[in-house]
Symmetry: C2
DNA sequence: CGGATGCCTGTAATCGCTTTCTCATATCCG
DNA sequence: CGGATATGAGAAAGCGATTACAGGCATCCG
């Protein structure tokens, strides 16, 4: 920076002013500084900046697993969105484990992250405490809980899952099953399962435990789960999946074992991944505008950072996309 | 840090020594400091550290697009691998554009990245220059060019693609087509196409331009490309895809338009994504151990950073995975 | 025409750590 | 037992920015 200042015949304070677009700087001076910067190929030190300004342009995002289309698409959108606003994205994955999430969070704080975006609202007390202690704002995504004190951008997983159930009820289904995500420490998975249960209960139907199989968002495991369900004495006529990947597992397993979808059994996914519309049969699912969700979460976080006032809970619209994998309940 | 030092009744220099695991510190003193750190919930400032030590624990990775399973899996593995070694991963995407890559690279340098990992070996001169200027080592992944001066971890795209061609030739195929990735600024896509062309030429066969369709790694575009190829007067009996996603497009399009794979046409992918084994027919492809590739790239970069000596070019083993999507050439 | 005002720029302290000296103490050996 | 050698710990100088604070110089107005 001293070199730039010398080259432009100004002080480092002025260079700093030019860099930060603030304050008064005479156009001619500004130009001289900018030319010096370009000529010297000067890149300001982010470390020094954040040290001295007590703020950084780094945002951390903690994702359960990047290796899942839904998160990958979100991270991609987030990265682009942030970089357009001059921020950098630090990523970490928690593997759905609050303790790992806490560790990642600490490492973000170590890097002076200005804010953090996390999935869900189930965080370890330590994690919340350390964020609080370092006065670092955060936003929960994938959930919508206006009554809770934490900023969030997402939707009501239970309510949305209930929508899918209502649609299947209209089609005359009565024997339901669910391939759910692992519910341990995963409020989204829990919410979806709860929503399904509640809506069925409201219609006098039950979802017995043996009709709920939890598995990871993994095609092989989901295929196995679907196979297990369909081999039961009384197989379900409708299978709700916790996520599209599980829906893919169901459809692919059906293709392999000759089960006809939707004639024998209807399948509904959740997320609307790109592949869903291309499979045969295509997958009926809940569309979640992932990219938008992450960008809105970033916006909210940036607003929080700059002290702008912003709603602290934002609901993202989801919609049921009916495709080929669902149909009327088979008549026995 | 001063608080910690005070609590442990030592100087900040000693706290620093404890933190950096170096130098001599009496076990008792070390323990006192560690307890003080834990008691105060102290998190050292990465910015101050890198400012003062002129080195950071940040590695930047520039990926063309995170929203592609192959990169997502790689990034996931990379993040985990680095975090186990005390490093943080900064990510950026280039959209296959060298200029964007350069900008991302600059922003990494701004954050004092200790090293950078990039895809491929096609980088803008500016990018190379700035990395050089800031003495920041980098590793190219997805390519293997032992003769070039830049560290790389990957494989010979042309050579590997040729393997797939040889296999198809053995099956009696003579009319080939290729759904290639967009070759602009993408040396991997170029290499694969070149390898296919070369191997065919070596066997007296030609791959005319009208039998090569470039499209993005996107199911919809690949479906369209496959459809176009198969509607030709003389459709190919073997279609090579630049990537598994394009292979998925081919298989899914075939499912929809009633084209029988492999009876009418054989399809080969590249990468061996998870879905490949689950589609029906399952996709014959080249397996690329992505996770391993990224981890080895990280290892090489860390070795470069610590001055350890390390080979500067590492070849990753790929293998042809024969599945259901390929078979003998149809007899006319 | 003098002082107030506003615009622009410089000086220097500071951010939280690392690291080089420097020095005190403990250990060792002949 | 004395001096050389390790070992352990502190003092203080930066690292490269930001940001009060201060001050110079036009401009403006009474």
């Amino acid at each position: 920076m001293a070199d730039v200042a010398a080259a432009a015949q100004v002080s480092t304070a002025t260079v700093s002013r030019v860099l930060n677009k603030a304050d008064y700087v005479k156009p001619a001076t500004r130009k001289a500084v900018e030319e010096a910067i370009a000529a010297l190929g000067y890149i300001p030190s982010g470390a020094a900046r954040s040290l001295s300004s007590r703020s950084s342009r780094i945002i951390g995002a903690i994702i359960p697993s990047i290796d899942n289309s839904i998160f990958a698409a979100g991270v991609e959108a987030l990265q682009t969105h942030l970089s357009e606003r001059g921020y950098h994205l630090l990523i970490g994955s928690s593997n759905y484990d609050p303790e790992e999430e806490y560790q990642v969070c600490r490492s973000f704080l170590e890097q002076h992250a200005a804010g953090v975006i996390m999935m869900g609202e189930t965080h370890s007390p330590d994690c919340l405490a350390v964020l609080e202690r370092y006065a670092t704002p955060f936003v929960n995504t994938g959930v919508y809980s206006p009554d809770r004190p934490y900023p969030c951008v997402g939707f009501d997983n239970a309510g949305v899952a209930a929508t899918a159930v209502r649609y299947l009820l209209q089609l005359g289904h009565e024997r339901f099953a669910m391939i759910a995500g692992i519910t341990t420490d995963n409020d989204r998975a829990i919410g979806r399962l709860r929503g399904v249960r509640a809506e069925l209960a409201a219609n006098g139907l039950e979802l017995p435990d043996e009709r709920v199989l939890e598995c990871r968002y993994d095609i092989a495991e989901s295929r196995a789960a679907f196979r297990t369900l369909m081999r039961r004495a009384e197989p379900p006529t409708a299978v709700l999946c916790g996520n599209d990947v599980q829906g893919f597992g169901a459809i692919l397993e059906a293709q392999h074992s000759g089960i006809r979808i939707p004639e024998e059994v209807s399948v509904v996914g959740f997320d609307d991944l790109v592949l869903s519309r291309h499979l045969k049969p295509s997958l009926t699912t809940i569309r979640v505008p992932t990219q938008e969700m992450w960008c809105r979460a970033a916006d909210m976080l940036l607003a929080l950072l700059s002290g702008k006032d912003t709603p602290r809970a934002l609901e993202i619209e989801t919609s049921l996309i009916v495709r080929e994998s669902t149909g009327p309940a088979p008549t026995r």
